[in-house]
């Protein structure tokens, strides 16, 4: 079983790998359905209001409708949604820094958010709610224990219920797969081997003797520099793009190394894939190139520029206007759901008790109780 085959068994490959086209198609479907639902929900709400206000005075009627936007709802487009998601991903990093959680936790949380919003729309579930739950989940999956009450306190203006309200929702959105494969550990492995290669500790890889002779000068220092740079890229750019959906962790890591030191990385890849092996070397290099351009595109500065900020503010306002009114209060919905279940339980208990009493009564009958069918 080769390394690649082992990667193909992961859920990240099986469920969370897309080509750019299919990802876009999926997102637009999600957006379309969510928009329809928002309109539907708003219409329902208006009808309900109209009914309830029919018997109240005209003055009150005018006040209550003001909470709901008039006319046709202006929904977010796919691009707008993506921009907002990117913004909230940055927010997640900041929140993570504030809570002093390790990089892996932040990275996992961001992937959760990205995965969740492929099949769910911002208009249905607000990212500010989902973000907290995602970060809380990430502390668990990455083995960084954080007590829930402390977590909520540290975020501020948050109650534990707020974090837990969307718990199952997020789990379902993640298709019950919590495993996220990151390129961080892979980078350590590659750097470790590169360092060993630079010192000549490792015999040349089989079939790559000629290439290994042509290794770059001053390799030890270059490896060290590349390590730091690549790590920076992995910590920010790789998370904020869709790289995780289109490339494997190993490829993302190599691409980051490539940005940091192109000559070194190309030499390394050539060591690993002999040129004769059916163009695999070229294909890998091309894929890494593609990934590298994707990583370079994104702006990693944590503070958005003024124009961006203005745009984001407008988007946030727009989002507030087109949110699905039925899904706003997640905590309330959660509570209602739980209580609903409980009341059903009570009903069953009562019914059973009645049946028991009845059968006891019939048991005293001369010919015993009726035969059960």
């Amino acid at each position: 079983m080769s390394e690649d085959e082992r990667y193909r068994t992961s859920t990240q490959y099986r469920l969370w790998s897309y080509s750019p086209d299919s990802l876009l198609a999926l997102r637009s479907t999600t957006n379309r359905i969510a928009a329809e639902r928002v309109r539907e929900a708003v219409r329902r709400l208006r009808e309900a209001r109209a009914l309830s206000s029919a018997d109240t005075s005209e003055v009150e009627n005018g006040q209550s409708t003001s909470a709901i936007p008039e006319g046709e709802v202006d929904c977010l487009t796919v691009d707008e949604e993506l921009k907002l998601v990117a913004f909230y991903c940055r927010q997640t990093i900041q929140l993570g820094d504030h809570l002093k959680v390790p990089t892996e936790v932040k990275a996992t949380a961001i992937q959760y958010i990205k995965r969740f919003y492929i099949t769910n729309s911002l208009m249905t579930y607000h990212p500010a709610d989902i973000l907290k739950t995602a970060l809380f989940f990430a502390t668990k999956t990455e083995n960084h224990y954080f007590r829930l009450t402390k977590f909520a306190d540290a975020i501020g203006k948050t109650k534990p219920e707020d974090v837990l309200a969307s718990e199952f929702l997020l789990t379902q959105g993640l298709r019950f797969t919590f495993d996220v494969r990151h390129p961080f550990r892979a980078l350590e492995g590659a750097v470790m081997e590169l360092q060993a290669l630079s010192k000549g500790d490792i015999p040349p890889f089989h079939g790559a003797g000629a290439v290994i002779e042509a290794r770059p000068h001053n390799m030890e220092r270059r490896v060290k520099n590349a390590h730091g740079k690549a790590r920076e890229y992995l910590k920010s750019s790789a998370l904020l793009t869709d790289a995780y959906f289109h490339f494997t962790p190993s490829q993302i890591m190599m691409a980051a190394l490539m940005i940091a030191d192109k000559e070194l990385t190309e030499w390394y890849i050539k060591c690993k894939f002999s040129a004769a092996a059916g163009g695999l070397q070229q294909k890998v290099l091309a894929t890494l190139e593609k990934c590298a351009t994707m990583l370079k595109e994104v702006d990693t500065s944590s503070e958005p520029s003024t124009t961006e900020r203005k745009e984001l503010k407008a988007l946030a306002k727009k989002l507030n206007k087109c949110r699905n009114p039925e899904k706003m209060d997640l905590v309330g919905l959660q509570r209602a759901k739980r209580e609903g279940e409980e009341s059903v339980d009570e009903k069953i208990v009562k019914k059973r008790k009645l049946e028991r009493e009845q059968s006891a009564k019939e048991g005293e009958d001369l010919f015993g109780p009726a035969i059960k069918k």
Partner: protein, 365 residues
């Protein structure tokens, strides 16, 4: 079943008292003794046997029997009922040939089938018509000839078992005898001890002017101590003896075949996980790990650097040759199995479209 009917059934059956050949009566000859020959099971008195068969083989004097009998074949009947006698003889004869043991069979069913077959053969021999008897005899003979080696082996095994049984019994008896002797000896010693200490006490009472009570108490204590010491000694000896005994009886009880050497257990079921893109080294230089390498606090918990090396390097190259864009493109099409890595992946990808749309419509709240 009547055993030794010759002496017991005298009164109930008059035919037991008169020899069918010479008609001599037990009343006239109290030492009358009947003999039979397993050829035909006709009984006759010992005088008749002497008279007719001493000069050599002759035919049976009973009318219409006419079997040729020899004097050597005559013996006293063990059972009063000659039918039973005959059946037992037949059983002995068949049992000597069909002497398989249960552990030779693979299943209980096979063993039971075998037993039933043997029983059928015996029934044919005992109760069957002439033809059946002949047939059964032939089968018996054929079986004996074809399985000579096995029969001999089983016979020997049976003898050995009996021998072993005898030995064990003997050893047990011997052990019991030894125990009894030891107990006797112990009793004797104890008596002697008590007598000696009493004498000591008396002597001390006579010779010294210590407190009489104290001296007697001390003596009592000494006796108790000695007896308890003796008991523990005896126990240890006994346990030693038992251990040796059990070793004797167990040895050779079961002849086991040498067990087939099992292959070492392979937890991965033959999956080869050797990396194809790198060679894992024993040790790597890593400034972040230099602390951990020398610090016992890291290593005490069983932290293995090799595990870390293996994992990081595996992750560095796992999926480097997986081109998602190419591979995922064929996913929604069921007729593209080549691009799907595992069975699970195929399953997941086949069901994928449905899942997504279902999720879209299925709400938690």
């Amino acid at each position: 079943m009547m055993r030794n009917g010759a002496s017991k059934a005298i009164d109930n059956n008059p035919s037991d008292d008169i020899c069918p050949v010479c008609k001599s009566n037990r009343y006239l000859n109290p030492s009358l003794q009947f003999l039979i020959n397993p050829e035909c099971y006709h009984k006759m008195c010992s005088t008749c046997v002497d008279r007719i068969f001493t000069s050599g083989p002759a035919s049976c004097p009973v009318p219409y029997c006419g079997k040729t009998l020899r004097k050597k074949g005559f013996h006293k009947a063990f059972f009063g009922d000659l039918k039973v006698e005959r059946e037992v003889d037949i059983r002995k004869r068949v049992g000597a040939v069909f002497n398989r043991r249960q552990d030779e069979f693979e299943t209980l069913l096979d063993w039971n089938n075998y037993l039933e077959e043997v029983e059928g053969l015996i029934f044919d021999l005992v109760e069957g018509t002439k033809e059946e008897k002949l047939k059964a005899e032939e089968r018996l003979k054929a079986y004996r000839e074809s399985n000579m080696g096995d029969i001999e082996e089983n016979r020997r095994a049976g003898l050995e078992q009996i021998e072993m049984e005898k030995q064990r019994e003997k050893a047990e008896k011997e052990a019991v005898r030894q125990r009894r002797l030891a107990a006797l000896r112990e009793e004797e010693e104890e008596k002697l001890d008590v007598a000696r200490s009493k004498r000591d006490v008396l002597e001390r009472l006579a010779n010294t002017d210590e407190d009489a009570n104290k001296i007697t108490q001390q003596a009592q204590k000494i006796i108790l101590k000695k007896s308890s010491a003796r008991r523990t000694l005896a126990e240890s000896v006994e346990s030693n003896g038992r251990a040796r005994d059990s070793g004797l009886t167990i040895r050779g009880l079961k002849k086991k075949e040498a067990p087939i050497a099992e292959k070492p257990y392979d937890p991965f079921g033959g999956v080869d996980l050797t990396p194809s893109r790198y060679v894992l080294q024993e040790d790597y230089d890593n400034e972040w790990l230099s602390n951990a390498k020398s610090d016992t606090r890291h290593m005490a918990g069983g932290y293995s650097l090799q595990e870390y090396y293996a994992r990081t390097l595996f992750e560095a190259f796992s999926g480097l040759g997986v081109f998602i864009e190419d591979e995922v493109a064929g996913r929604s099409l069921p007729a593209a199995p080549a691009s799907i890595g595992t069975a699970a992946a195929a399953e997941a990808s086949a069901a994928k479209v449905n899942i997504e749309y279902k999720m879209e419509l299925d709400d938690v709240f």
